[in-house]
């Protein structure tokens, strides 16, 4: 490229407040963004990618400073601009969109006024002119009925709609550079697909430069022209998207890409044709808001008459977007939530009708692995007590229970000496292992895993999935695997049930769901998986790359 770059970052350093684990969050990085291209910065949590974006915008959090290097936008070093000058460039020359559409808009201000604010601050347009422009912008980002919607308050809008408002705001003045910090991470896949398409369309129509921060290689494959991979505050590899995704040079990039689950169904396990372990019939759960004399009750049918069979030794995936009722379903099955109707037959007993004593006994055969590694372990108890909890509940002697806890720690790949430590001393992936050990302690027959890897970085994700597969084989477990991520489902599940708005729309063997989806919604979901085209040709020999064990 002959023309000078739109954005040139040189030797940028960002220092964290004193007293932290690391001194530099960003450790001397350099890259360029040219007009008309999308550069993706991809990295795991803590790699410094979001701080890089914030540094360019001059919006670093309190206590965090850029300590060196330069950020040249159109030849002007932003780090040396007085705050007032920098402020004038924000919104005008650089637009930015953020990760959390739910909190990024002022809840007390109409969305139209929030878009209008950019125009009011930076232009001399009169009110009528600005209003026309707001409506025009909202139409450009495909918001329905802009003339009405501009008067709405943010809480009336869906997450996708709010993100469109954010984009309209960022693009209001036609900035030459757009910074997008994980703009689709909080959205469902189908919404994500639309937003990615919108960003791409506007970018190519305007010849804008885009700096796109993400952790998701699927998204990278979908949208990037060039890619920079960040690790521990450094850029380890940068290059055109085809090269980085398909012929990565750096070992870290290779391991990351190897860890991305492939969108190809795994070979079904032999046990998939076993006897039914758990059969649910007509399971129903309806949430009702408390009503008053003058207030209509709001009714949400979270789960609508769901039938479900899990066979011995098989993994059944429940796949759906947020609000589909998949998590509610998992909790209904073991009566963590009371169901409004239906039955769950397990070992010849209806779990939903079992007396409290019988229920407690039955529950030990059905255990759960939870999503949030930070919320699923009691921060005030030692890990040993957590893992031994189920055995203690059964009244086993303490010594025996704790000896078993040690064994289980080893089994899930942790140091048995860790039983004396508290959860906060472990990383996210390690905590998930502790959660799995806790569930295995009571030797269950069925494991319900509710999004067990979705809070984890991709490399850790791969390890935890491997562990789950391993224990499933070893203990001959049946598993219900709840996930929003079709890639993960493809790797883990023998059969898949697709949920939408409280109903299962389609059930079938994983290969059939992926190969020949029957329901239109299943096709839509599959179609929305980011980086689908790339997956097909994903590193043929990725088995050669080893995944570094988490330290």
């Amino acid at each position: 490229m002959e023309t000078p770059p739109l954005l040139a970052v040189r030797d940028l350093r960002v220092a964290l407040p004193a007293g932290g684990d690391r001194v530099d969050a960003v450790d001397g990085i350099g890259f360029e963004v040219h007009a008309g291209e999308i550069l993706c910065i991809v990295g795991e949590s803590g790699s410094g990618k979001s701080l890089t974006a914030a540094a360019i915008m001059g919006l670093l959090p309190r206590g965090v400073r850029a300590t060196g290097g330069s950020i040249a936008l159109g030849g002007v070093d932003l780090l040396r601009l007085p705050e007032d000058e920098m402020r004038r460039r924000r919104g005008r020359d650089v637009g930015m969109i953020f990760q959390e559409p739910m909190t990024a808009l002022n809840p007390l201000m109409r969305v139209g006024d929030q878009i209008d604010e950019v125009l009011r601050v930076h232009t001399g347009l009169d009110e009528a002119g600005r209003r026309a422009r707001v409506v025009e912008l909202m139409a450009q980002v495909n918001l329905p009925d802009p003339d009405q919607l501009r008067l709405a308050f943010p809480f009336r809008l869906s997450g996708g709609q709010r993100q469109r408002v954010m984009i309209a705001m960022a693009l209001a003045l036609g900035p030459s550079l757009l910074i997008a910090d994980e703009p689709t991470t909080a959205l469902d896949v189908t919404t994500q697909k639309q937003i990615l398409a919108l960003v791409k369309a506007i970018q190519s129509a305007r010849g804008m430069g885009v700096l796109f921060i993400t952790h998701d290689f699927g998204v990278v494959a979908e949208i990037a022209d060039r890619v920079a991979v960040m690790q521990h505050g450094r850029i380890v590899e940068v290059g055109p998207v085809d090269q980085v995704l398909n012929r990565p040079v750096h070992a870290y990039t290779r391991s990351l890409i190897a860890a991305v689950p492939r969108l190809e169904p795994r070979a079904p396990s032999a046990a998939a044709a076993g006897l039914p372990a758990l059969v649910a019939r007509g399971l129903t759960k309806t949430y009702r808001s408390a009503g008053g004399i003058f207030v209509r009750r709001r009714v949400v049918e979270a789960v609508k008459s769901v039938d479900l069979t899990i066979r011995q030794g098989e993994t059944l995936g429940v796949v759906g977007e947020s609000g589909s009722g998949k998590s509610t379903l998992g909790r209904l099955l073991i009566r963590l939530l009371p169901a409004d109707g239906g039955s769950v037959s397990f070992q010849g007993t209806d779990l939903l009708a079992a007396a409290p004593g019988r229920l407690r006994a039955l529950r030990r055969d059905v255990q759960m692995v939870f999503q949030d590694p930070y919320a699923s372990l009691n921060p005030r108890r030692r890990v040993g007590a957590i893992v031994a909890d189920g055995l203690l509940a059964q009244g086993r002697p303490r010594a025996e229970a704790f000896a078993r806890a040690r064994e289980l720690m080893g089994l899930v790949g942790l140091d048995p000496a860790g039983v004396d430590r508290y959860p906060h001393e472990f990383s996210g992936g390690q905590r998930q292992r502790i959660g799995i050990a806790r569930a295995l302690a009571v030797e269950p027959k069925l494991l319900i895993a509710d999004e067990p890897v979705s809070a984890l970085d991709v490399s850790v994700q791969a390890q935890v999935l491997e562990l789950l597969n391993d224990v499933r084989r070893r203990f001959d477990l049946a598993m219900l695997f709840i996930t929003h991520d079709l890639r993960v489902a493809a790797q883990v599940c023998d059969r898949i049930a697709v949920m939408r708005r409280g109903e299962i729309v389609e059930t079938g063997p994983t290969a059939e769901i992926f190969g020949a989806p029957q329901h239109a919604y299943t096709r839509e979901l599959l179609d929305a998986v980011p980086g689908r085209a790339w997956s097909a040709g994903q590193l043929a020999n990725d088995a050669l790359y080893t995944i570094p064990r988490e330290s």
Partner: protein, 325 residues
């Protein structure tokens, strides 16, 4: 439509709570140690047996409890709050006479404390960590720890006794006939010390709340969004931070209006302000329970009314309000 339903629902709730307080009032008399008739009569020098008998008859104290309750509620609903045998007047007359001065006092204190407290809180938050923030925090902490009666007495010592600037008690000068503007000024001068006494404590409460709320809001995502749009800091404060930070403070202030009324008992006692607080104090001294319970009922009703008003205003100001939730 939704809003009307919301208001209707809240009104209904207020009425239910008020009825609950009437019942509580009834129970308090019955639970009090001793003969309820004697309790009602107070130590009005009227505790001869004949009079007590007459009272029992009048209030049906010899009838079953539920019947008594019904009679009591019916009386209250027809604004019959009983009779003060000490003052030889119906309680409702006393309350009606004493209510306006209290409304003047607490209303003034409410407006002043909220205005001053929010202003100080905003100032402190904007200069968080600097000396002026520390100064405001220290002042707020101090007044938050002072009993009202002590502030009042020290105010009298300083401004009435030592400096001679302001009158120390009453609501108007005694023995002087004043008309029109002069009378307003006279009442105003008498109002300064008691109103300030009541203000300072609550000002401290609101200042601390506002500061905390501001610091919380300014770190929220939508403030960062405004910054990314290139909005200046002054405008961010005005348009984004202030409204979101102050709304909860004002709401809580409305909900806690009862504290001002409680404080007025002490302040009116110190300054001999002729309101229902002073009336309550007199009732305590004279063991005039009908009057005391009347004050309790009226202040409770006032709190319910202020809560209702707060709800309505809130529903107008905050678009997010979960109507009816």
């Amino acid at each position: 439509m939704e809003r009307l339903e919301f208001i209707a629902q809240r009104t209904l709730k207020g009425i239910v709570v008020l009825l609950g307080i009437v019942v509580l009032n009834f129970l308090l008399i019955r639970l009090a140690p001793g003969d309820p008739a004697a309790v009602m009569a107070g130590e009005a020098g009227a505790s001869d047996e004949l009079f007590l008998q007459q009272l029992r008859q009048q209030f049906g104290l010899d009838r079953p409890l539920l019947e008594q309750l019904w009679a009591y509620v019916a009386n209250i609903l027809s604004f019959d709050f009983g009779f003060s045998y000490r003052q030889q007047r119906p309680v409702v007359d006393l309350l009606a006479e004493r209510l306006p001065p209290t409304l003047l006092l607490t209303g003034t204190a409410f407006v002043l404390s909220l205005a001053a407290g929010v202003t100080l809180g905003v100032m402190a938050a904007r200069r968080a960590g600097r000396w002026s923030d520390s100064a405001i925090t220290v002042v707020a902490l101090f007044f938050y720890a002072t009993p009202l009666f002590w502030v009042g007495l020290m105010g009298v010592l300083l401004f009435s006794v030592t400096l001679g600037w302001l009158p120390a008690f009453g609501m108007g000068s005694v023995g002087v006939k004043l008309g029109g503007v002069e009378r307003v000024i006279d009442v105003g001068r008498h109002l300064v010390l008691p109103a300030l006494t009541l203000t300072l404590f609550h000002m401290a409460v609101y200042a601390r709340m506002t500061r905390a709320s501001m610091l919380e809001v300014r770190d929220q995502d939508f403030v960062r969004t405004a910054r990314a749009k290139g909005v200046g800091e002054g405008e961010i404060l005005r348009r984004h931070v202030l409204r979101n930070a102050i709304l909860p403070v004002v709401t809580i202030a409305g909900m806690k209006a009862g504290y001002l009324l409680g404080g007025s008992i002490v302040v009116e006692t110190v300054f001999a302000w002729p309101g229902i607080g002073r009336l309550a104090y007199e009732a305590v001294l004279q063991r005039d329970y009908n009057v005391l319970l009347g004050v309790f009922l009226v202040t409770s009703a006032l709190v319910i009314a202020v809560n209702l008003a707060t709800d309505v205003i809130y529903s107008l100001v905050d678009p997010r309000i979960e109507l009816g939730a």
